[in-house]
Amino acid sequence: MIRVQFEDFDLGNELAQMTRDNHAIGGLCSFVGLVRDMAGGDDISAMTLEHYPGMTEKALSEIEAEALERWPLDGTLIIHRYGRLEPGDQIVLVAAASAHREAAFEACHFLIDWLKTKAPFWKLEDTPDGGKWVDARDSDDAATSRWDKKQPAAE
């Protein structure tokens, strides 16, 4: 399931709903991203997340579908917020449920790595010098490419 929303989410409730009716699930892995009060030496008083309505939902659905194809999962969840957030606020939740821990860990890691470089969101940070758009990081591209499918070895 994917959700793009301004509202905050309750981590406990969200995870409980993923497993409540499926007792074949043996492992549930989640990641929550939070707004920090510092970035690149600047004090951050708030962050505004902009996104591309329509394409965002499409991109997140494709990322979720890719995870479901790669791992034996019993459920996935992506919630991403937009709008004005403050330090300590939750930005994003990704979670993956499976019979065993390995698929849950890997799929959760995959979901957040792919989301960071493929979902059309942009962050504007409020700093003492005014608003600054966050630059994409090479390390995020590297984290995404870790999940590139290996090409079959040449014969």
């Binding site: 997340l49 902009e50 591309y52 960071k116 979902a119 059309p120 942009w122 962050k123 504007l124």
Partner: protein, 83 residues
């Protein structure tokens, strides 16, 4: 066609979306950018550095060599920074 702009691209063009008539002879995203750059100093600045510009045609990421047509929805924005 419909043009959409996000993040600092939107700030430089001064608009988030607009209807645009595809001029004759414009067949690719790169050619469309060349036309848009001529519209104002803001547009020129928004489209000056292709290395920090990303494009989606009908909500799919494309390269600047991708073809465009009159009824496309085309979005321009910086590299994404969600998560």
């Amino acid at each position: 066609m419909k043009l959409l702009y996000f993040a600092w691209v939107k700030e430089k063009t001064g608009t988030s979306n607009e209807d645009f008539t595809l001029p004759d002879g414009v067949a690719t995203v790169a050619q469309l950018i060349d036309v848009l750059k001529e519209r104002s100093s803001g547009y020129s600045e928004a489209f000056s550095d292709h290395s920090v510009l990303r494009c989606a045609v009908n909500q799919e990421y494309v390269t600047l060599e991708h073809p465009v047509s009159g009824d496309d929805e085309i979005a321009f924005f910086p590299p994404v920074t969600g998560g």
